[in-house]
Structures are given as structure tokens and as C-alpha cells.
Symmetry: C2
Subunit: 156 residues, 2 copies
DNA sequence: TCAATATAGGACTATATTAGTCCGATTAGT
DNA sequence: ACTAATCGGACTAATATAGTCCTATATTGA
């Protein structure tokens, strides 16, 4: 819950990188070098982003990628939709459909509603916001333990 | 992102079940039968819940489980903390603290902020809310939970 | 006290998801 | 034509999650 995949993390970095270079296209290898994400992974992410329209691509020599639209027209939920799909917080499996305890089945609906509200809130946060330094935001100290696996170990 | 694990789903169902029976303790096998979750899995979830204090347990004959506190004193984020841990949305690993591209490193901080806002909102949703039909949920407060400075701006 | 009934803790396996790499094809510029 | 790119997708590896099972311990009541 509330964990974004590493690919989404990379995608965000890549998009921020592109947002700072609105004029020109950047090749996958340039982006990989700048973001310190391994090249094959960078390529994979860029392909997903390009297919969704969040970035536009130019093939061939001197080709590369650029933002598909301006940074404040790209929302956090746009990014999540591309990298993780419009996944529901839970799916009420068919095996529960004949459940006689309807109060339990409604729980799934509650999670869905929560999910929808969160996505809506995320729709108001833009890539331009993400480009701004985090320290400009009201700081609330939050000590969270992070699993080893969530670290960006793949970055070179 | 925004996907709860199946175990969390089970836990919620189990808690809702217990919330409807505040007077007596229910054994794991009773709960398994009522929720249609396999017994070993039910036991696993209950053990986690008991360890966290969300439910209290009584061992031995005539033992079982009951809610550790009233349903409106248990929040959605309490449940998530127990089943999924206080996971961060991303974390910039210490080995990259010397990264020369500060703007990219700050992206993680923005996700953290978003995560915190969501968790805070989830802290306001109680087990009692989850027992009620989904349309009565107080989720609209979510939008206010995101720091103002992160909302869409006209800048750039 | 003994037997029956529970939970407690944790090891273990199986499964699903995610990450990462690589290959061949296509496209565009020089 | 040659070179430098993206495109699509297959494939493997790594990781996380789910689910099961075994042994120990506690409680109750006959």
C-alpha cells in the first residue's frame, strides 16, 4: 500500500529530467547517464512513457524523447496510470460474490472509495510540483523504515 | 501503488466481523468460517493483529479474539501499519546522497510528502466507517490533506 | 491432574509480481 | 549505405506475497 514501484520512481526522475530540458530531445542513453538508471531499464520506462503519450519520441539518428505536454499538464496520477495501471485497491473476487455476509463485501467497496479519493488528490499534483525542491514544502518529520528492496540499488 | 495486499483485505474483513460482535470472543475457526478465509491464513492474520493490539486474544479453551479497542478508535492506517508496515513510498538510498543532481533526489521527498498526506487522511477513516456502506465514507477530506503548496499552480 | 481446546511463534514452500536484460526490427538522418 | 536511434516483445532473475504446517504454551473444566 502506498508504495510506488521502482519503475515509477525511475519514470518520475526521467520526467523531471525532461522537464528541465523542454527545448531539445534527449536520447535514452543521455537520460540514463543523467539519472543514473541503468540504460536497459531507462529504455523500458521510456517506451512505456512514449506509448502513453506522456513523452513523445523521435526515431532515428538525432532522435530521442521530450515531454509530450507541459510539466503542469502532467499529473502524478497520470504517471501512476502509465507505470502501474489503473489498479484497484482491492478486487472483489468472484468467489466472494455469493457471500452471504453482505457487510463484509461492502468493505471492498470502502477501499475502492478511498482509492478513488486518493487518485483524485493525486490528479491535482503536477510534474511541475515534483520538480520543485521538497524543502519548499511544509516539512513534517516522518520516520519510516524502508525495506532494503525499495532502495535504488540498481542505480549506478 | 494504492493496492492493498490480500492479507490486509482479509484483516479488514476479520476486523469488521469482530466489530459486529463486541460482546464475545470468536475463535479463529469461527472467524474463518464466517469470512470464508482459509483457516491457516485467518490464523496468520489474527496473530499479526493480536501482536499489534488491534485485537486482544484469550488462549486456551473457550479462548479466541475480540477487538482491542472500539471500532471507531481503529483507523484504516492502523490496519495498514500492522499488515504492510509503515512503508515509505520511495527512499533515496544513503549511497546516493552525494548525487550531483539535487533536483532528481528531491523527487523522492515529494513522494514522501504525498504519502504522508494520504496516511494522514487514512488516519481519519475508522473501522466503524468501514462497517458502514461505502457511500457514507468521509473520504472527501483527502483533498485537504495534501499540502497546499503541492497543488497545481500556474507557474512554468 | 488430565484432556481438550485454543492461541503463539516461526519455519517453510509455493506462487505471483516486479525488475531487469536482451534481441531483432524499424525508422530517420548524413 | 551506414549509423544512431526508438519499438516491440520475449525472456530470465529477483523479490515480495500468500499460504501451510509444526511445535510449544496457556486456559478451562471435568
Amino acid at each position: 500500500m502506498l508504495k510506488i514501484s521502482r519503475l515509477t520512481d525511475y519514470a518520475t526522475m526521467i520526467l523531471v529530467h525532461l522537464a528541465t530540458r523542454p527545448e531539445r530531445v534527449s536520447s535514452a542513453s543521455d537520460i540514463a547517464e543523467s539519472t543514473h538508471v541503468a540504460l536497459p531499464t531507462t529504455q523500458k520506462v521510456l517506451k512505456l512513457l512514449a506509448r502513453s503519450g506522456l513523452v513523445v519520441s523521435a526515431r532515428g539518428s538525432e532522435g530521442g524523447y521530450a515531454l509530450g505536454r507541459s510539466a503542469n499538464a502532467i499529473s502524478a496520477s497520470d504517471i501512476l496510470d502509465v507505470l502501474e495501471g489503473p489498479i484497484a485497491i482491492t478486487e472483489c473476487s468472484a468467489t466472494h460474490s455469493h457471500c452471504e455476509l453482505e457487510s463484509l463485501c461492502q468493505v471492498g467497496g470502502a477501499w475502492q472509495k478511498i482509492n478513488k479519493a486518493i487518485r483524485a488528490a493525486l490528479g491535482d499534483i503536477t510534474l511541475a510540483d515534483l520538480c520543485r525542491p521538497a524543502r519548499e514544502l511544509p516539512v513534517q518529520s516522518l520516520l519510516q523504515k524502508v525495506p532494503r528492496s525499495m532502495h535504488r540499488s540498481e542505480r549506478s
